[in-house]
């Protein structure tokens, strides 16, 4: 199976993407991604301050899905159905890796709990600089994949520790194909990947998708497996407990918060000032 290589291309022909090593490739990789989206008529925004988002891309599309991956209606109505176009935004988190492993076929990456927001427009972009492929997966499709395939990775201690490397995304050079645990991920690759992330339903039915991601996230994250880290006897106790707490109403959470604040305030001004010093970057949170 061959894939058109009209996207992505190397926008910097004076240097090969894999001439960079892992310590100096971040900037060029993000620019590489950004320039590629500009070449297919998306507007591209780069972060001015440090955030968890590496690029924001936007363009005008037809709400009925008639807009091609490299087309920007630029406020004009859809030429196919005459429906007014509207602007979409996608929030891109880029992971650039070279292929490793015995067969040089493995794209190893880490995603932490902080990388999972409940907005379907948050996109994980896995950029394989050795094969020049973008794998574009919305947070919705990503979590849905794990849930549909009964994959309990997010229950593991290593995921919540933030060092759970995933080595299941693989490239098969013989068939020019990407798989995750032997299930094809070519639907997320390059042009088909862009077509998936510009899905107008993410914008039209944003609330519904946010609800669905919230449910997926709570189902996958609020599970505990002892793994090789803990004795198995605590696994059942913890799972029973979090099954109950994760379904608590919001008021229970607010009551715990209120009791904690009351307790912390009683510890004296020095400690309160110290805690508030750490909370300063979280506007709206203080003791």
């Amino acid at each position: 199976m061959t894939h058109p290589k009209s996207f992505p291309i190397n926008p910097f022909p004076d240097v090969k993407p894999n001439d960079f090593h892992k310590l100096n490739k971040k900037h060029v990789s993000e620019d590489y991604v950004g320039e590629n989206f500009k070449l297919i008529n998306w507007d591209v925004f780069a972060p001015f301050n440090d955030t968890g988002i590496d690029r924001i891309i936007s363009k005008y599309i037809c709400p009925n899905g008639h807009t091609k991956y490299n087309e920007n209606l630029n406020t004009h109505p859809c030429p196919h159905c005459d429906t007014p176009s509207y602007k979409i935004y996608r929030f891109i988190q880029i992971k650039t890796r070279e292929l490793k492993g015995v067969a040089s076929d493995t794209f190893g990456y880490t995603l932490k709990t902080k990388d999972f927001r409940t907005d379907p427009r948050h996109i994980f972009l896995f950029y394989s600089d050795h094969t020049n492929d973008f794998i574009l997966v919305s947070v919705y499709d990503y979590l849905n994949f794990f849930e549909a395939n009964h994959d309990h990775f997010h229950a593991s201690p290593t995921f919540k520790q933030g060092n759970g490397k995933i080595n299941n995304l693989k490239y098969d050079a013989n068939n020019d194909s990407w798989t995750f645990k032997n299930i094809s991920w070519d639907i997320f690759r390059n042009i088909p990947g862009i077509e998936k992330i510009q899905n107008p339903d993410y914008d039209k039915y944003l609330d519904r998708y946010i609800n669905d991601i919230d449910c997926l996230k709570r189902k996958l994250f609020y599970e505990f497996s002892s793994g090789r880290t803990f004795a198995t006897n605590i696994e059942q106790v913890i799972n029973q407990y979090i099954k109950q707490t994760s379904s608590n109403p919001k008021s229970t959470f607010l009551n715990i918060k209120s009791a904690n604040i009351h307790k912390l305030r009683a510890l004296g001004l020095d400690i309160v000032n110290s805690i508030n010093g750490y909370y300063a970057k979280f506007k709206g949170l203080h003791i």
Binding site: D43, V44, F45, A46, P47, F48, N49, T51, G52, I53, R55, I56, Y89, F91, T113, K114, D115, F116, R117, T118, D119, R121, H122, T158, K160, Q161, L206, I210, D214, R218, F221, F224, F230, A231, I234, V237, I238, Y241, I242, T245, K250, S251, F253, L254, I256, K257, A259, N260, K263, L264, D270, I271, S274, I275, Y278, Y279, F282, K283, G284, L285
Partner: protein, 206 residues
């Protein structure tokens, strides 16, 4: 980005917004990550207890003496009993505090729920204001226009249809910088000095 626009961008960053830029001189994209229900800010760097949802209290606890200490200091052991401090969940009814097996497992493997290596804290799941678990992004394309002459400002407003979500006009008169923050829906074509404020109107960014 020109320096006048950059100055506005830094102001918005100081107020908790994220800024994204293009090659254009006087525009940028402002972005916030907020609670879906109440629009309070959402912080993926804030951690909460995986078991009960309590926020990281950023304190050391000596389990032996049941005393609490600031984590700002360099001391890692209790000055009274020399036991190691832990960063535990402070909710008394949390499983980490009520079940001895679970508590010991956490405090033996890690130095408490909120130890940097612990798998018992996760990024913010609940809104700090309303407790909801759903969050979303909002964005605003912002244009900045600066002038010390009202004729120029009114001429600019007449000639420029609102292309961006928010227009920030900086009037740099003799009495210092004043701001008029307009939304696309405001559709104002003429302004006077009394319309200007001493600060950018952040209520337009919700």
């Amino acid at each position: 980005m020109n320096i006048s626009t950059k100055s506005v961008a830094y102001y918005l960053i100081s107020k908790g917004l994220n800024i994204f830029i293009t090659e254009e001189n006087n525009t940028f994209l402002a972005q916030r990550h907020i609670c879906k229900e109440c629009s309070s800010p959402w912080y993926m760097d804030l951690t909460e207890c995986f078991l009960c949802g309590s926020y990281n209290p950023y304190i050391y606890v000596c389990r032996h003496c049941n005393t609490y200490f600031s984590i700002t200091g360099t001391v890692k052991n209790c000055p009274t009993c020399n036991q190691k401090f832990i960063q535990c969940c402070i909710n008394d009814s949390c499983l980490s505090n009520t079940n001895t097996s679970v508590g010991n497992a956490i405090n033996t493997k890690y130095k408490g729920v909120f130890d940097g290596d612990s798998c018992f804290n996760i990024a913010q799941m609940h809104c700090i204001n309303c407790g909801d678990t759903k969050n979303e992004y909002i964005t605003f394309e912002v244009q900045v226009y600066e002038s010390d002459d009202f004729n120029n400002i009114n001429s600019f407003l007449k000639q420029n249809s609102f292309k961006y979500d928010i227009l920030i006009i900086k009037f740099t008169g003799n009495s210092g910088i004043k701001y008029l923050t307009l939304r696309k829906t405001d559709a104002i074509v003429e302004v006077e000095e009394s319309s200007f404020l001493n600060q950018i109107d952040l209520s337009k960014f919700v």
